[in-house]
Point group: C2
Chain length 479, copies 2
Amino acid sequence: MNQHNQQFKKIDNQDIAFFRKVVGDAFVLTHSEALTNYAKDETPDETLRHLPEVVVKPKTVEEIQKIMRYCFEKSIPVTPRGAGSGLSGGAIPAQGGVILSLERMNRILEIDCENFIVVVEPGVITNEINRKLKEFGLFYAGYPMSLETCQIGGNIAENAGGGKAVKYGVTGHYVRGLEIVTSWGEVLCFGGKTQKDVTGYDILHLLVGSEGTLAIVTKIYLRVLPRPRERAVLLCPFSSIEAALRTPWLIMGELGVVPAAIELMSRQSLEFAYQYCDSTYPFQEAPCHLLVEIDGQSEEEVFSVYRLIGEKLLAEGAQEVFVADESSSAEEIWKIRRAIPEAIHQTLPLEINEDVSLPLAALQDFVRFIELLSKENNLLAPFYGHLGDGNLHVTLAPLKSAGWETLEPELRKKFYQEVKRLGGALTGEHGVGLKRKEYLPLFLGPAELRLLHKIKQVFDPKGILNPGKIFPEQVTPKE
Amino acid sequence: MNQHNQQFKKIDNQDIAFFRKVVGDAFVLTHSEALTNYAKDETPDETLRHLPEVVVKPKTVEEIQKIMRYCFEKSIPVTPRGAGSGLSGGAIPAQGGVILSLERMNRILEIDCENFIVVVEPGVITNEINRKLKEFGLFYAGYPMSLETCQIGGNIAENAGGGKAVKYGVTGHYVRGLEIVTSWGEVLCFGGKTQKDVTGYDILHLLVGSEGTLAIVTKIYLRVLPRPRERAVLLCPFSSIEAALRTPWLIMGELGVVPAAIELMSRQSLEFAYQYCDSTYPFQEAPCHLLVEIDGQSEEEVFSVYRLIGEKLLAEGAQEVFVADESSSAEEIWKIRRAIPEAIHQTLPLEINEDVSLPLAALQDFVRFIELLSKENNLLAPFYGHLGDGNLHVTLAPLKSAGWETLEPELRKKFYQEVKRLGGALTGEHGVGLKRKEYLPLFLGPAELRLLHKIKQVFDPKGILNPGKIFPEQVTPKE
């Protein structure tokens, strides 16, 4: 069986009428202008654009059930979608059909302080959760860098990482319960408000990161933590990238401290970001800057830890250590860090933009490879990201656009082959989606892929959920 | 299809000869005395005993492949087994066949400090990992209470929790890669030395906690952390259980501190444990004692946190706060805590011994229920466990044995109905196994169970892997 060759039913007026009846006329979009907004996500690659045939915006789980039952019956593809802020084409309706936009399911249903649980709908903007939690002295630690635009449902779909994963882990670590609608329209529930649960298989974690290909998530139980009362951000220009790449070991291994974040920003990344923010900064010639965040419950604790780290970094290649221990100044630094992807994209519209996750000890080799690759091919190669997790975002962009179309696939292949050779993963937090699916067989063998495909078939026997994602076109599983 | 009615092949001399050829004569056990050792685990219930037909002890993944291919071909059931220290009958060969004992696969293959990864075989005693890691200033934080006897493979099978899950999470949080052999004898690998990876579905977490019913785990990549340099254990007798049950909120919610452990021990539990350890203790009349562990990188940090917690607890019902800030005295307290299960079992051989996980706010109601149930039925009801996670171990034992056989199933049913009513889980860390499978339908609906069963079929189409576990007998999935 090959799910990608199957024939889906095209949407006709009768289908549209059904959707209108279920969710109301105002929430079924068919005008081409409206559809265009749902044809893309934040992936720069302009070839990753596909128009949906219709956009449907349900408000309740019952509406989603009706839609799924109908689409299952008729073999109509359904692509669930949050904010469309993804970076792998995951929310793009690759095979047309229905975009199931969860934007109206945007309620925080419950803040249950006593149980350290918050219950939310998938369309809630992730940052909204922390805004609400602040007054209770709690926070949701799994938020990614795009917190101000992304939705929690999308974070679940991608198992989003983020700046504080070094200490706090990624999205999946905080998911304690899910309500889902299956491809055939059944509502299932797993987990809830307990902190530990080994009742049957861990379906929660199977769903987290499944990129909308296994089920529609309609309700989420998230574990929340006490909000750290104090924080400090260190910004450290480094005299060499090699020295900066050693810092995770220095801080965690030698000092024995796990900071909230260890972020790396190469010279070029920072240059673009400061230009974009119309701002300047010291040590512009440093090959890279590090951002280290420390948090804790008391000023003394945070102070003693950042002093320890600061001294270590100064001894090991930091040219200066700037300390931001006020919330506003710390946010200023994070603002620059968060501006990098958009700044790069604005400056370098032609680009390869990757999300590699490597064993920490392989980072030196990897950066040397990037430097060589960019030199040999006349590329700009800004990189930045979550150094503490070995998760770097690398852009490769041509100095001149001629020949890029031929060069781009060659570069991408070389790039992934090197990542594989170094023991890395195809993607650390952005997902496979549409963008990386052809490279999946480099990282997962045929037997592993067959197993994944069989799991897909359990959840989605007709292949209608977000078709064309994750699995490469050529997968034809043995039966 | 009903997996439990299927006919498995009985093992004959030809099969034995094959196993001997694969692993060597010395590692195939058939004598009834030897088999008896593999007929049970640490579950007190004497009805949960089943003899294997043969015990096979492979040394390599290749041997396991050969065994699985053969057993798949011949439809011979295979039950993987670690130390047999489980508490749900998970390692008991419920339908005979082969016990695949992983005790000889007991090597720590690699301690990769730079990548904060340790690579181990499944038969390594869990505590051995931390003994080896100590000299590198690292530790594996996912270890359970039975660390001195259990094996890491068993921890993976059950997604074991433990005393420090409040701060550090359970086993699954540390699993970064697995090598497995499938029921049909194929070797698959997922993950590795990266800290973040969203390449395809999260098969790692699906395997963790699958109780040996999906695959044989042959190699494990664990994330390790900097070892906390300082620790302190507080032991606090409480004047009321109600007050003690509020402490997770007081410590984490009001003080904003996440300690490594918040353990509760009821008066009766402690009494049995001190008797068992032939030791005495102050405040014997206190309805319960709390054990709170704080760890950190500096003495000052740990001191300031434990002083804060100590003062809070004294103000909120603790009769005294004993501080153990030396490693040896801290271990003395943990030793008593760890002795409780065995002490209870020695004193009360007739017992129901459960592992409930509840939302923290439901604990008051739950304890009142236990008190009422034990009063109405003339029971002893010692309880103890991981209060900070809402994961308590409750024993119900009759004062006189007459009538227990009839009373026991009634009590168990009432017990689980109440756990369900309070939003709890069937099991927090011990697993479903053989012991709890009949109660699974109380906690997972028919649709959820069908989904689990289909996943089982993907991994184990012939139902030969640890048959008779997790799924209740009466499950007959719709196809």
